[in-house]
Structure formats: C-alpha cells, structure tokens
Assembly symmetry: C2
Homo-oligomer: 114 residues x 2
DNA sequence: ACAATAAGTCAGAAAAATATGACCGACAAT
DNA sequence: ATTGTCGGTCATATTTTTCTGACTTATTGT
C-alpha cells in the first residue's frame, strides 16, 4: 500500500492559538461591549448576564496576552482599571463581521435550496 | 447610581456559530490537510494522529453544514468519498494566515520587551 | 463464501472548559 | 471602626467537549 498521506501536527500553530482565544465563551461578547468605549471589570460583569468573574478574568488575561486589548490603570479620583480594545482587536472585529456575512450567505443558500 | 452599561445578548449572532465550528478541536488541521487536494475520511484519520473517527465525523458534518467543505461520492473503481475545500473554506484559510501573522507579530513584541 | 477496507454510528468514559461561592487586599465613605 | 465597592484569586462543582472501543452496512478482493 502506498501511503501518500503526510502526518501533520498543527499543535504549535500560532493562528490556532489566537483562534482558541477568540472562540472562548465570552470573548466575542467582551469585544463587542468594548467596541465603542473602554470598560471596567465590574461593568463587563453587569453587561454580560450569565457570565462570571472567573471566566471574564481568564478571558481578559488571554486577550491581553495576545495583544487584543490593553489594560490601563487610571490614576484619577476613584483610581480604577480600564480595558480597551487594541488595533489588532479592532481588526479582529472586522473578521467577526466577515464571518457573520459568510454565515448569512450560507443560510440564504439553504433557504433557496428548499 | 447611573447605570450606563447596556445588557447585551450575543447568543444568536451568526458569526459566533461559524467561529465555534472553526475553533472545534480538529477543524483547523482538517482545513490544512485539505488545502492542496481533496482527502478521504481514512486519510484524514491517518494524517492527524491523536484524532478519532467520532470527532472527525462531527467536524466534517459541521464544516459541510456551514459550506466550508464539499462532500463528493466518487463513482470510480473502488467507489469512495472525497471531501474538498469550498471557496468559502479557501477564504477562511486566508483568515487563519492573518491570525498567524498577528500572533507572530505579538510574540516578537514580547521578546523585544524582555 | 470469507475476509478486508471504507465510512461511518453509538453509548459510555475521560478530559477540558466554565461556573459557583468563599475569600482577599486596597481604597472610600459613614 | 465598620461597611461597601472594585478587581480580582482560589478550590471545588458542574457542564461541555472530546476520546475510546464496540458495532454496522456496503463494497471489493481472494
């Protein structure tokens, strides 16, 4: 038997890593909340019902680690922390938009096929 | 207290659905194997060590459902099934490539920061 | 007729992701 | 001094995803 298949290991593919972050449960929602203006941790928690501290904390760390958001300590009156979207993050929002379009086109095809 | 946070529910966002497919464990690898030429189920299984029938089967169905790949029954001598990437799928490979670039740039920044 | 391969399905087990609730340190207001 | 808020962490529980191994149907080779 001729084996023309190649064994491939994509475990340390850099794109995969970022994809895993993007597909983490609350990440797309966090992005969308932050889209227009920076948010604080407690605001996110309120804005995303069903979420929890733990998951948001992990998600924010991952997003920061991958350069999708930036964490800023605001040294004003009440001294607080603000998260805001980075340029990379803004670009990724465009990717989301494209994915939505693809998905929508596909659904129209399904309907047309009936 | 003035509540300036809006409660947002992104549950039925169409982009999210396709994102979930993309981030399913073996999907990116399947894409890459199929990138150049169509593959058969048993070839995928061999090409992706650590994978299993069940997961690949589910992944292929999801990918087909979302129009990322196409399934073809080849009525030649040994009569078999072939999966190949669709135009949408090819486009998504480009998205992966971009994600990889973003990730790589980010890692370089990390190194530079040391 | 018999065994082998391809392309799966199914139920249950194991592993990974997510959620819950208690707790903590810093700061502010009463 | 006590209470409350903010921005978390930690250990544990629950839920979801993924894997394993047995089984199936159709086709092909001997």
């Amino acid at each position: 038997m001729t084996d023309n298949t190649t064994i491939i290991n994509h475990n340390n593919c850099p794109g995969q890593e970022i994809l895993n972050v993007l597909a983490t449960k609350w990440v797309p929602s966090i992005f969308k909340v932050m889209h227009r203006e920076p948010v604080r941790f407690s605001e996110l928690l309120k804005a995303l019902p069903g979420s929890n501290k733990q998951s948001l904390s992990v998600a924010l760390h991952q997003m920061e680690k991958h350069g999708l958001i930036e964490k800023k300590i605001i040294k004003e009156k009440p001294l607080h922390i603000e998260y805001n979207i980075s340029d990379t993050g803004t670009y990724l929002l465009d990717v989301f938009k494209t994915l939505s379009e693809i998905s929508t086109i596909n659904k129209q095809k399904e309907i047309a096929a009936i």
